[in-house]
Symmetry: C2
């Protein structure tokens, strides 16, 4: 089946840079883009879909989250951090059943798909439910079940989280035409011990996996690691061999210059979570410096408990302006850089070579923006438009692998009403 | 005509604080709220409007903008500030005709009304066109034509901007049932001279007007004023009598402790413009300190050239998290405080005693949010929901003076298609 999207603007990638094609054509053969241009292609297509007034862009890649935490959205938002975490978040989360987690993930998928996310990386448990949901939804997902260990004497072979993680990898990695990838994951330095991290990192390397972890989210975490081990979390992970697999490090707010050198030399990808870092008072990750160093910087929403939504357009907007604010440099962050962070850089982090840009030969992971909205007029610069003016709700079509998942408010792969119904039941189970 | 909005959640104000009424009723008699409660009122209403699944909140008040600058949206966004301003913004803006300005303002009204703004304060020229548009749209507006003077020898009586400003005040202040207010305005210290500011401020006071101005938006502006006059902009205005009228001061990023004392003692209201201050690299206005001092802090979008949209929900979101970021205090800014800044505090700045909260006796300036969207589920705390999770596009109804201006994507007072058509023509005139 070949489909031609016609009469639309396209943010194509040519030689690594965005090119704005106006009134153009994008051809899809099955799941793959086979044409982009200003001229109508000579080849015949089975379907032609008129996309006049729309802008096509690569699907957004949300590189860090904990999707089922949407069920915690807005709880205890006025409480101090300690009370919020220990009196609200953790006791409620402890009550989550596998079914609650399945349903929470589905609610998150609705939200992400409707706001233009075509691929996401997620760290949570009962991960098999997220695999099933992603397959049903048709979205791409890098899923993981993170290692945690709360007993220094625990043996590697006895850690049930490790077992689950490796079993997931063996069962699901690369399934659904490669849309499902299973990552290895270590929750964080402060929720693990060196021996177990070292053994798990060795297994990750031996099995050819990728690693996902939290790194120096706060100064407190960073400084306590130095007190405990005499080294920073980045050095600690590096010394334990964790970074010998391709690694995605979330937050990196409190990293040192030496940490950044390590991350650069080990090809660690960084996930910037602007809303979460500001809302929780974590601070400003040194993103401009990392970009200067050539570190692969991506974007994530984090969980809804600390955001409180999963809207990548909001993260793009924040990332584009917050660093200007404290550096007093109005052109520090460029719209093209921001969109790359949200697309191509995310694909690289996820270990996906066939998504992240609109080019012939790439998978058809495409989102369309409805330009016919008052706040998107005029359109002199679609990169500036997407970064500074557009909203997640301006996404009018979300396509993955050439298949439309969402269009004009309708979900085509998920049953929205059923999800709402199941969410209500889950909330009743959890909160009574 | 009496209308009852029924079966909806309501963010009512009781004794100055928000109260969440669930499954409640809000009665309107003409332009005024006459009932709010959980029980159906005994009195009969001519109409009953089912608002199940919706949350009613007070309309948002955008306290600072330059609406016609939507026609400059996205131009030159990668250029350094000086080139952006002098090579792009100013030359293009110089080409604006009165008709262009009228049409630009209309486009801005569509955007603001659709994202929940029911009243706005605007500083621009050809102000009579904004008066006519606001009357046609049914929105509230505090409009002004700012004083500027580029010749130190110019006589007060010869300044055509002053003439226009005072003529506007005489002709339109308090018209359209009070929806239109005309403010006095001084663009900024650096675009004026002391004599003319002193004379104009005296006229403002004599005529019972309110003042709108830019104040210490950047350190450069602040420091240059000190070099020139030996005092800060706030002290300069205060000494010239400007603050003897109720004054709205936009930005206030670089104000000193003494400036804040002056502003507090003179009851100056502050307009916080989060996006603009971050995007332009101006910095972080000391908003938490001002709130602690009891200064009336409000929110604004600034013009679209430095934002690039007019979406008050985005400003609320940013104001709620950006100050947490650098203070490392996750509960510094409270959702209730943020919503007050966007509503009741804005009403106080505008000199309006009958809007800014949902209470019997207040004008029916009401917006409704559609809660039935994935990113607004669950709803445990509607204040947190509006501040952290909701988007401007979640507004499904905008009402001013009891009249619906916008509902479910349709504009009921403005002809959206005609505006689009006129905007296209204006863009062609301006850009060729």
């Amino acid at each position: 089946m070949r489909t031609l999207l016609k009469n639309c603007d396209i943010l194509a990638t040519v030689n690594g840079d965005f090119r704005w094609i106006q009134n153009g054509f994008l051809g899809i053969d099955g799941s793959v883009i086979d044409y982009i241009g200003e001229e109508k292609p000579a080849a015949a297509y089975d379907n032609e879909k008129d996309m006049a007034g729309k802008l096509l862009a690569p699907g957004l890649i949300n590189c860090h989250g904990h999707t089922p935490m949407v069920l915690l959205r807005g709880i205890g938002s006025d409480l101090p951090l300690h009370e919020w975490l220990f009196e609200k978040m953790i006791p409620v989360e402890d009550r989550f059943s596998a079914e609650d987690i399945r349903v929470g993930n589905l609610l998150a998928l609705l939200e992400m798909i409707a706001s233009g996310t075509t691929s996401y990386s997620d760290m949570y448990f009962e991960t098999q439910t997220a695999v099933e949901n992603a397959v049903a939804a048709g979205i791409r997902a890098n899923l993981c079940r993170p290692l945690q260990s709360f007993d220094a004497n625990e043996k590697y072979a006895d850690n049930f989280r490790v077992k689950q993680s490796i079993e997931l990898f063996r069962n699901y990695h690369g399934t659904a035409d490669g849309r499902i990838r299973i990552d290895f994951a270590i929750h964080a330095e402060y929720t693990s011990f060196p021996d177990i991290v070292e053994a798990y990192s060795a297994d990750c390397k031996a099995l050819g996996g990728r690693m996902h972890l939290h790194l120096s989210e706060t100064s407190r975490e960073h400084d306590e690691c130095i007190r405990k081990y005499g080294k920073t979390p980045a050095k600690w992970f590096s010394d334990l061999g964790t970074f010998d697999s391709p690694t995605a490090a979330a937050h990196c707010v409190a990293v040192s210059e030496d940490d950044m050198d390590i991350m650069k030399s080990k090809n660690v990808s960084v996930i910037h979570n602007p809303t979460s870092n500001l809302k929780l008072g974590s601070g400003f990750a040194p993103i401009p410096k990392m970009l200067d160093m050539g570190i692969n910087v991506t974007l994530g929403t984090d969980g809804a408990a600390s955001n409180n939504n999963l809207n990548m357009m909001e993260e793009m907007h924040l990332a584009s302006i917050m660093h200007n604010g404290y550096t007093h440099d109005p052109i520090l962050m460029k719209p093209a850089q921001i969109l790359k962070m949200a697309t191509a850089n995310g694909a690289r982090l996820q270990g996906r070579e066939d998504v992240g840009s609109l080019e012939p030969g790439m998978k058809a992971d495409i989102i369309a923006f409805d330009l016919d909205r008052p706040h998107l007029i005029p359109n002199f610069d679609p990169l500036a438009l997407l970064t500074y003016a557009a909203q997640g709700s301006d996404v009018c079509m979300t396509m993955v692998d050439g298949k439309i998942l969402y269009e004009n408010g309708e979900f085509l792969t998920l049953d929205e009403e059923k999800v709402r119904y199941e969410v209500k039941a889950a909330l009743k189970r959890i909160y009574g």
